[in-house]
Amino acid sequence: MKRFSPLLVPLAALAIWEAVSRLTHVSHELLPPPEKVAARLWDGFANGGMAGDLAASLLREFAGFVIGAASGVALGLLLGLSRAASRLIGPLFLGYRQVALFAWVPLLSMWFGGGEQGKIAFIALAAMAPAAVNTWRGTSALPHSYIELSRVLMFRPLDYVRFVALPGALPAILTGLRSSLIAAWLATVGAELFLDVAPGLGGRMNEGRETFQMDLVLASVVLLGLLGLTFSRLAVAAEKTLLKRRAT
């Protein structure tokens, strides 16, 4: 029984949804029954080009994530390892963090345009901060004893990065990358909703909203949620694999 209890609430919710949409006078436009949403999802993949939208969104997210996460980790390492860098650009970076992420949408769309470049620039910006913050925190929180040890063993700076700083900060870096991935996914949806219309799940949702197709909107929500879940799962699994050997 205990094993199935997590399923109770979703099943109950589905049942209530089904009942409300069938037994009350709420229009199916506003609250399509669950099976209609499922059918829409199925139909979308079979002949509605939803697979193409999905691929476009994923590609966009991936491009932005790679650019943003790589530059974020690099920035974090610089801030964490060089005192001069953290003094010089640390405050600037912290100041940047105070500005709400979406405030950059109008600016980036003017600078890079509302097309693919502007979208990827925004996704990259979203992915950059969590990676940078966590990498910075991870590298600057390394115990002083490791730094002393590296001096005694006469490590060169690169040896220090390779043997101490990177592996020592790895858990924090991975946490940052996971947050970056999730932030990039949110930014992908945001970019697709706010910027120029282009193939993608966000655009598909906008279309559904404008043409009052709740089933399409909800089908997209389900898909976006499933992908978000997949991302988290993958990131957690990757973390476990990478950190496994440290456990007792």
Binding site: K2, S5, P6, L8, V9, P10, A13, L30, A84, R87, L88, I89, G90, P91, L92, G95, Y96, R97, Q98, V99, A100, L101, F102, A103, W104, V105, P106, L107, S109, M110, W111, A141, W185, L186, T188, V189, G190, L193, F194, G202, M205, N206, G208, R209, F212, M214, V217, L218, S220, V221, L224, G225, L226, G228, L229, F231, S232
Partner: protein
């Protein structure tokens, strides 16, 4: 010695921003970039002054802050209750935890089209979305905080024959305070992010709207002026919460 040290830090910290400002002025003066791409700092400052003087900026700020306050209050109160419930009761956690985690994976903005169809684009939309945005981190952290009360501390309570109420007020709540605060801080940050996003997309008032208006008119000076305001408010929110947190968590030893 110490003063000297602090002064070096401050000077180093503002050196790069000043340098960037200088480069920005130079770029504008030499006309290297068109005004629609990068207006001169002086223009941004003038716009900022003008909008402050006309009261438009203050109005927009107050509207955005009011939305954050309403949405955050709703999200934080419900989040505290729900988080405490699934944190304290393993049974409730088994029932509701997985569903919550599943729904939390949906990118927040994906709810926007759904909510627009359901409730329209009025105040309700903003409060609901900001509410969801603050609800999720509050629940995650509160539940974690309540679950992670060190068993050794619970044992102390058991040895002292605490009743459930004393156990809650003397041991569980104080031990969970840091996580609760982390949740509230993240919730407020999310609320702030979300109000801007929602106003950019569906609003005719507020700071986010001011930006999207500036963008439509190709007035980048206005957009940049709002960015400055957003930075100041973000900083003030962070500072305020850190102070409150410092008072409530005095027993915690913080790394310097």
């Amino acid at each position: 010695m110490k003063l000297h040290h602090g002064a070096v830090r401050v000077v180093a910290g503002i050196a790069v921003p000043l340098l960037l400002l200088g480069a920005w002025s130079l770029t504008a003066r030499e006309g290297w970039l068109p005004d629609q791409i990068l207006p001169a700092p002086g223009v941004v400052r003038a716009t900022l002054k003008e909008f402050i003087a006309s009261g438009e900026l203050l109005d927009a700020t107050l509207i955005s802050l009011e939305r954050v306050a309403k949405g955050f209050a709703a999200g934080a109160v419900t989040g505290l209750a729900f988080g405490a419930a699934i944190g304290l009761s393993p049974r409730l956690n088994r029932l509701f935890g997985p569903t919550f985690l599943g729904l939390a994976q949906v990118p927040l903005l994906a709810w926007m089209p759904v909510m627009i169809l359901l409730v329209g684009i009025d105040e309700g939309l903003k409060v609901i979305l900001i509410g969801i945005a603050s609800f999720i981190p509050v629940v995650l952290n509160v539940a974690q905080g309540f679950r992670d009360v060190p068993p050794a501390l619970r044992e102390v309570g058991a040895v002292l024959l605490f009743d459930p109420w004393s156990m809650l007020t003397q041991i569980v709540l104080p031990a969970a305070v840091p996580s609760v605060f982390t949740g509230l801080r993240e919730g407020l940050a999310n609320a702030w992010q979300t109000v801007i996003a929602v106003e950019l997309f569906a609003s005719s008032e507020g700071l986010g709207y001011l930006m999207s208006w500036g963008r439509q008119l190709f007035q980048l000076d206005l957009v940049l002026a709002v960015v400055v305001v957003l930075g100041v408010i973000g900083f003030a929110l962070n500072w305020g919460l850190a102070r409150v947190e410092g008072r409530l968590g005095r027993w915690q030893v913080r790394p310097a």
